[in-house]
């Protein structure tokens, strides 16, 4: 507690442009004006994308209207994996440079990551029953995404399991980095092994095997959910920084009181 209070009360001015956000005070000032525009943009984008995806986009030739589950399922899957990549980067920053802000952001990120992964699994299950004929199978894709969900949950629980906040953050960072091996497994499981889950429709090397009338609303939904994800994590991180500052101020006030009483 004592060390973290000191780091937050007077973080040394770090050199270099990357360290600009490392100082929690500067982070609060910089992001002060971001949260509202980000939330408004997310709400507008999600509203527009939902209308596009649910009413304007055509059904699929063989799956019919059921294909609309994809407009939630796929953004959640991309966010679950992209978010985990973000968690890994925060963990590297935490372990090597001991950024106090990276610890806080990682702590706020993992419950949101667990939530989107759970939504990905739930929507996938709801989609699998009518189309494939089963809620769940233990194929490589589904199993590796379930492992990703447990990694998110494990990180969220582990960083909160220690009385010493910094120790918890370090353990969580190690878990997150060990779990990075699962990311290529999730991504390439459908190519390396045969699975019930179909391979990716949208890749960088070939034309997307998804018609543009379905692809564009999907991308709009992805941007909308991505903005909402960023807004939630940013709000959580800002709240966590402020909470720590309040605690640090209270500690300082208590110490002054103690010093003043003879």
């Amino acid at each position: 507690m004592d060390t973290s209070t000191r780091t937050l009360a007077a973080a040394p001015p770090a050199p270099g442009r990357l360290h600009r956000f490392a100082n929690p005070g500067r982070f609060l000032r910089l992001t002060d004006s971001w949260l509202l525009p980000l939330s408004v943009a997310a709400a507008l984008m999600l509203g527009g994308a939902a209308a596009w995806a649910l009413f304007l986009a055509p059904p699929d030739w063989q799956q019919g209207e059921t294909v609309r589950i994809m407009f939630v399922h796929v953004p959640m899957a991309w966010l679950a994996m992209g978010g985990y990549l973000g968690l890994a980067i925060l963990s590297v920053m935490s372990l090597i440079w001991r950024h106090p802000l990276a610890d806080l952001a990682a702590r706020e990120l993992s419950p949101v990551g667990a939530a989107v992964t759970a939504l990905c699994l739930a929507t996938g299950s709801l989609w699998g029953k009518p189309m494939w004929g089963t809620w769940w199978v233990w194929d490589a894709r589904l199993t590796s995404v379930l492992v990703l969900f447990f990694l998110w949950l494990g990180h969220a629980a582990l960083v909160r399991a220690f009385d010493d906040v910094e120790r918890g953050a370090r353990m969580g960072a190690i878990l997150a980095l060990v779990g990075v091996v699962n990311l290529p497994i999730v991504k390439f499981s459908v190519d390396w092994w045969n699975t019930l889950h179909q391979p990716a429709s949208v890749t960088r090397v070939a034309a997307p095997s998804m018609h543009v009338d379905i692809l564009y609303p999907l991308l709009a939904c992805t941007i909308g959910f991505g903005l909402a994800f960023a807004a939630v994590v940013l709000a959580g991180t800002r709240a966590a920084v402020m909470e720590r500052r309040v605690r640090a101020l209270q500690m300082a006030a208590a110490r002054r009181m103690e010093a003043a009483t003879p």
Partner: protein, 165 residues
């Protein structure tokens, strides 16, 4: 600075260690990670008698015969193909909506001594193509594609979004 550098190297070393351990494990378990076996796999190596496994492939065009079972449940007979080999399958029960000729299926069951696969479960395995009904109809009308024969033509032929090459 040196402590940071040391932590970076330790982290990189651990990453290489965990990465290669995972790669080795996955390579060792390669055969167990497949969800289903293709008719060619079964022709190459016949699975042990009475052992349940999953058979996957396309429903061969023109092979589907439907008839009622004695207890009133729908019964079906079809062949699963991967282009090289085919395996005849019998199944009694409810099929998924996407089941049709030319569709991918994954069936679980036992291969009989007569070479007929007795499926307990049939799952549909659709491909990664998504298109509106009008586009599918246009492709079929133009003679580019018969869904009963298998996968649609490459996306570059019908999709207007093409990555720059």
């Amino acid at each position: 600075m040196t402590r940071k550098r040391r932590r970076l190297y330790v982290l990189l070393l651990c990453g290489i260690g965990i990465g290669s351990a995972t790669a080795l494990t996955l390579t060792a378990f390669q055969d167990n990670l497949v969800f289903f076996r293709s008719p060619s796999d079964i022709a190459a190596e016949r699975p042990p008698e009475g052992r349940a496994f999953r058979l996957g492939g396309l429903v061969e065009s023109g092979s589907v015969e439907r008839h009622g079972a004695y207890d009133g449940r729908p019964a079906i007979r079809f062949r699963v193909t991967d282009g090289q080999h085919t395996v005849p399958v019998v199944f009694t029960g409810v099929l998924p909506d996407l089941f049709r000729e030319g569709q991918g299926v994954v069936t679980q069951g036992v291969l009989g001594t007569d070479g007929v696969f007795r499926a307990r479960e049939v799952l549909a395995r659709h491909d990664e193509t998504y298109m509106p009904p009008e586009v599918a109809d246009a492709l079929k009308r133009a003679g580019h594609w018969n869904p009963a024969e298998g996968a649609p033509p490459p996306a570059a032929e019908w999709n207007t979004a093409r990555p720059r090459s």
